[in-house]
């Protein structure tokens, strides 16, 4: 890929105080006062004020990007702090946008931060992106990744994307008309539930730092025209080996052109309808339990219902399918710990004579465990919708949320 022209025209001359601030990058070979003025004139849109936003936005601001828009609707939680280092203890419960804006103001109050407190989707991304030169995607879900790619392609703007999970990172640049896009690497989204999220699979915080910092560098390169962007190459990072490896890739010759935005939740197989158990238990099975009156043997049980059952002392087997470290944080009692990965070997411990309720953190893993148990003939099993997180939010605030 040839080096593209700088993305942004230089702005006004910078005052001596600004030049002093940037003296250590003005000293860089190939980087000059004009490059600095391009940064000052640049408008960068970042999706997500989480791990990757934490590792990219401060560098964009400190390097002199004049305007940074951030899209996020979350509030800061305790479990964010290990990796989302723009937020601190005092920010817990605050909007992530307010928190990241304060952090940036602490680095350089001259930086303009624009807060987009919206769930970004097909209906609004083009309007938001219209005011920016480059898009950084640090989102945490597949629908948004394809949305970001397609919006960038439709507008002809470059996308810098990064993704992290466990000890692994990926980062690349997609720029329709200049090179392949995210869809040329991942033409088909994974089936829902097949790829763990960071809350399910974990993530090493310094992987965020590595990937987010590369994203920041790519944005700076695109804006100023220095170097060669990661077009047609995805860089992968493995923290366990400490190594980077790259994959060079070309456009998918079978791909359809991107002509419009679509329903990305549907594209990724995510239904906006909650999953409901509308099929009833198999009839006439010897294993059919005698349910307590009023106990719905359907697939799902909500937090209030479970609390009522526990309070009434109804005979149920409550099974915690999370990991031991999670149980050490909080648990709904009385329950038994059978981590999901061991369930297949410990299926003999599941009761068939009384209702069984499975729970996990947010209800994703328990839904998976429930499907397995149902296939194995446990028509007496259901799972807690929303997991212990919903239980804490709804009926038992003393349980620590994570």
């Amino acid at each position: 890929m040839s080096s593209p022209v700088p993305l942004v025209e230089p702005g006004a001359r910078l005052a001596p105080e600004r030049l002093a601030r940037y003296s250590r990058q003005l000293a860089l070979p190939g980087f000059d006062d004009v490059a600095q003025r391009r940064l000052a004139n640049a408008r960068v849109l970042v999706i997500g004020a989480g791990g990757l936003g934490s590792a990219s936005v401060p560098y964009l601001a400190s390097a002199g990007v004049g305007t940074i828009g951030v899209i996020d609707t979350d509030v800061v939680e305790l479990s964010n702090l290990h990796r989302q280092i723009v937020h601190g203890v005092a920010d817990i419960g605050r909007s992530k946008l307010d928190s990241i804006a304060d952090t940036v103001a602490g680095i350089d109050p001259a930086t303009t931060i624009i807060r987009h407190d919206v769930r970004v989707d097909s209906s609004n991304i083009l309007d938001i992106l219209a005011d920016y030169d480059v898009l950084l995607d640090g989102s945490d879900n597949f629908p948004t990744r394809y949305l970001a790619n397609d919006a960038a392609a439709l507008t002809g703007k470059p996308l810098v994307w990064g993704a992290i999970l466990q000890y692994h990172g990926q980062v690349g640049v997609a720029w329709a008309g200049h090179g392949p896009t995210y869809r040329d690497l991942f033409p088909t989204p994974p089936a829902p539930g097949t790829i763990p999220s960071c809350s399910e699979g974990g993530v090493l915080p310094s992987v965020c730092a590595v990937v987010g910092a590369i994203m920041g560098a790519e944005a700076i390169k695109l804006i100023t025209g220095i170097g060669r962007p990661l077009l047609g190459t995805v860089t992968t990072y493995d923290a366990l080996s400490g190594r980077f490896r790259e994959i060079d890739f070309a456009a998918d010759p079978d791909s359809s052109p991107i002509t419009e935005l679509i329903d990305y939740e549907a594209f990724c197989g995510i239904s906006s309808e909650p999953v409901r158990g509308d099929e009833k238990s198999a009839v006439g099975s010897d294993l059919e339990p005698n349910f307590e009156p009023g106990f719905d043997p359907g697939f799902e049980i909500d937090a209030r219902r479970l609390a009522d059952l526990l309070a009434d002392g109804d005979p149920i087997q409550l099974i915690d399918i999370r990991e031991p470290y999670e149980r050490a944080i909080a648990a709904i009692e009385p329950s038994e710990l059978i981590p999901l990965g061991t369930l297949v070997h410990r299926i003999d411990e599941i009761r068939r004579d009384i209702p069984v309720v499975l729970y996990c953190h947010t209800g994703v893993r328990s839904a998976s465990a429930l499907a397995f148990l149902r296939e194995s003939g446990f028509h007496n099993a259901s799972h807690l919708v929303g997991g212990i997180d919903s239980y804490s939010a709804t009926v038992s605030p003393a349980l620590v949320r994570y």
Binding site: A163, P187, P190, R245, F249
Partner: protein
Amino acid sequence: MAAETGTGVIVAVRYFAAAADAAQCEEEQLVLDDGATLGSLKVLLVERYGDLMRRVVESGSFLLNGVVCKDDALPVGDRVDVLPPFAGG
């Protein structure tokens, strides 16, 4: 199984992220039957590396000589990259 001892085609396979976790290595050379397809490579990988690799095969991208391939009937070529997607941010 592939004809590891036979006179087949040599394919250099690189594994990334969860694929490397499943294979317990970052790359290896496999000898496949002449005319081996992407589909037969996937079958071999799942046979060798089990459930973890099955998940990668179901959701990951296979790049044949640097171009993503969705057609299991296509011949594998000499260089394959196995890259699972993830969306954490």
